[in-house]
Symmetry: D2
Subunit: 292 residues, 4 copies
Amino acid sequence: MKDIESAAQTYIITADCPSRTGTVDVVTRFLFEQQCYINEIHSFVDTTENRFFIRVEFRLDSDAIFNQDDFTEQFEQRASQFEMKWQLAPRPYKSKVVIMVSKHDHCLNDLLYRYRTGDLNIEIPAIISNHPDLEELAKWHGIPYYHLPITKETKPEQEAEVYKIIEESKSDLVVLARYMQVLSSDMSKKLSGRAINIHHSLLPGFKGAKPYYQAYDRGIKLVGATAHYVSDDLDEGPIITQSVDTVDHSYYPEDLAAKGRHIECLTLSRAVRYHIENRIFLHGNKTVVFGK
Amino acid sequence: MKDIESAAQTYIITADCPSRTGTVDVVTRFLFEQQCYINEIHSFVDTTENRFFIRVEFRLDSDAIFNQDDFTEQFEQRASQFEMKWQLAPRPYKSKVVIMVSKHDHCLNDLLYRYRTGDLNIEIPAIISNHPDLEELAKWHGIPYYHLPITKETKPEQEAEVYKIIEESKSDLVVLARYMQVLSSDMSKKLSGRAINIHHSLLPGFKGAKPYYQAYDRGIKLVGATAHYVSDDLDEGPIITQSVDTVDHSYYPEDLAAKGRHIECLTLSRAVRYHIENRIFLHGNKTVVFGK
Amino acid sequence: MKDIESAAQTYIITADCPSRTGTVDVVTRFLFEQQCYINEIHSFVDTTENRFFIRVEFRLDSDAIFNQDDFTEQFEQRASQFEMKWQLAPRPYKSKVVIMVSKHDHCLNDLLYRYRTGDLNIEIPAIISNHPDLEELAKWHGIPYYHLPITKETKPEQEAEVYKIIEESKSDLVVLARYMQVLSSDMSKKLSGRAINIHHSLLPGFKGAKPYYQAYDRGIKLVGATAHYVSDDLDEGPIITQSVDTVDHSYYPEDLAAKGRHIECLTLSRAVRYHIENRIFLHGNKTVVFGK
Amino acid sequence: MKDIESAAQTYIITADCPSRTGTVDVVTRFLFEQQCYINEIHSFVDTTENRFFIRVEFRLDSDAIFNQDDFTEQFEQRASQFEMKWQLAPRPYKSKVVIMVSKHDHCLNDLLYRYRTGDLNIEIPAIISNHPDLEELAKWHGIPYYHLPITKETKPEQEAEVYKIIEESKSDLVVLARYMQVLSSDMSKKLSGRAINIHHSLLPGFKGAKPYYQAYDRGIKLVGATAHYVSDDLDEGPIITQSVDTVDHSYYPEDLAAKGRHIECLTLSRAVRYHIENRIFLHGNKTVVFGK
């Protein structure tokens, strides 16, 4: 977090490709040739799938002029020889995040707090809900609130409207902050890799509806939450991060919910941070996360 | 742990019954009349099932003479009016625990350490295994080791032998310390409420075989263990306690297993302690645990 | 949390006294005579100091009429024979909590969220700050905000004003939610046992100013927070609860602060909950906490 | 942990130097030129101290012949231009670890378990103690046990003997596994950076003698342990890793000790693992740890 000013000259490059000799060098040599200073570098090789992942945070020498197009064109020539999928992002970069909610406001409240204090470096072009309840909270933060009710019949139209808001605001990420609705298969696919959901159980335990009630019935001794990318297959998307806290027999479902709230907030906001800081790679139905 | 000497005069009474006014008083008044001093008292009412649970640790005035038979006869007269199931146990009471293992020795090693240092106040009349591998470890601790191989065909005979050892040693508890064999329905029933298993996942996630492999495939970010009473329904018995630790994408199944070992040890030994200190009540398919 | 309606008829009795036979019975027998139903009972004996502590949550039979004055008069006759200090409180009881802040708003924001959603069953008659910054947040929640600047010279006057607000609002508790000022010895004494402070370190490590900077300099690998009662001796008051999270070498003081924020919130709100639910006993420079 | 066979061809290079452009490239380019495949790379820049740290795990192409002397000579030419301190180590490399103990055996027992199962890839040329108590345990593991009593007067001689054992066995690391003796200033200096101590508190809280008693007196709600390098300044050496567990008022010093045992074991073994896997850099009075 040091040197906020010079951070304007900081970038993150992420890449993944089949694993072979030279995959690190192709990145680090190029950055050296461009006189970039590497702040931090992480790599990982999945030896089962034979795939390589790398994340490099670098900054430019003080008065260098950085031409992103030139960088892209030149690096692509080398990266393509490694069949590399890669991405370059300035940091700090203010990601645009659309938040979807239902009536529960704890995750929204937490995200808004982190938004207004700058703890999460995001813009929020829209808060979308199928209920009107949380409009006041959105308004106090000066964020447009879209009340888009949903029924079985109107789901396609509602989702089309939602998608339009996401697209028109050029949003980078959609966060389902206890939205309580299952996205259609079509919508899930369109948002693949850029929609994060918080599920209030430690997946794969207690998939589906009312996980705190399921957990109560099973007599669990730890209550947890899972942040994951939305996929076509309910509660089966790639897991980003998980947290737990201890409980005992005296926790009724309402008590689990109360205790679980801060865990949900913490888990979801961590996942959002990882995403906007380009720390996550999708890797089949898993994630590679260079966390902090 | 204070006053180890006077602890010889310490007892634990546990009871549960339908919930109604007077359920605490019937216990506490009787203890007062017997001039017992209450060290610690915990109670819980399950308002859904309308059932009351209580655990009282008490000691006798210094030179009192305690007649357990008289106590039992007299208290039963009152307890029966509340349809109370109850139990009286001296503390410290050296429980007899039979340990069953396969080839993995980490849980056994941990239990034996706690046994030989007195951390767990137990006797171990037998270690039973379907493999010969851990005999040396048993021997060094001076504990009889029974190598009872098992095949599909010989399972009934093997279990009969196991049961004989448990019964003849008058054991209070059977601990499946990574035994890796599913007990038959009949055996599960015979050991109901006195056999604890450690499962190396956070149940209900990853039931059945090879949970670390299942967890790896699902891309989990927390690895856990669950200690539970054995029941007829595999990995569905009442949960006693659970623990977790964080992992990331770089953990292959072998790494999950390595990281999980201490979690398994910790979780299993805690469950054993709760059991032998009469801290656990079976309550349908759940447990009420007055833990410490 | 069950039976919210009947909860109107729920009470908590807490008591402590020198340890001797009959200390539980004197409470439980009286409650039985009054036809009270005990929901939950916890006791503890400090065998070093020879002192007994008990907390009982009880409810009245459905249509009983409860006369608190009669209860008090009658129970006091018995309690006094045990030199018992005791307290009776209805539950839910909406505690009045004055919050004091400086410029950091994360703990305030968290407490206000829990206040407005009913997660903490409190009224907040006043938010007091030596800075004007957080007025907007207070206002949005409809809570009076007192901006009372403080200098070395004006400290006595400022504290007198603060005390007046606390007294006139008949507040039960004062919460220093990152107030960043040391209360005078006189003020500390006047608020003894009813003022909770959050210190952003794991006491007794890093007492005094700028604990995150101290922690950074020492190279710690866990960052923590401590909620404690304010005492005359800075950061030496009785500890109520503590929490931690893991960090590494890459955390500068600002990063520790960022990571520590949710820990501070969680720790402080837990301490407030314990206090208002009468779960805490002051016991010399320690606390006995019957937590949940 | 994959590919144990090919792991014979795996190496770790660690380096640190003043921070400037090219510090990553000088390592990664050289490795590329040597046709080394990078499994994992971590770097960190301390922007306050302007110092760069890197750890790279690499393996050789299947049938390459690796000449460590050539590698060293050639890389040194480049590294010296960056004033780089660096180290090359084969992996797996069986570190030689001398363990020093007193009478408490829990940490020793844990380390021996990890040693005999291969969980820690170490040799133990000697266990040294100022008491005879743990000889039996050492013997069962086939490890020479040196009983070297110590008094104020004989300390220099005793330490000379200890040092001789360390040197003659060419040990890489000394582990004070609850040795309970303070090393002399001279001895601390001679073992600087290669002696790890476990202190049973969360430093800097409760330095010095009897931390569990100190913690009890202070009424803490978390019990912890700290593994650190031994330094001349008691309990002030660079911290490697720390862990905690929750406790409450009912924990007397003996109970804290009992609960703390597994935390000490876990914390110490983790520190040892980090050290022998070349994951730790000494950095003034702190450490940089590329943990896993």
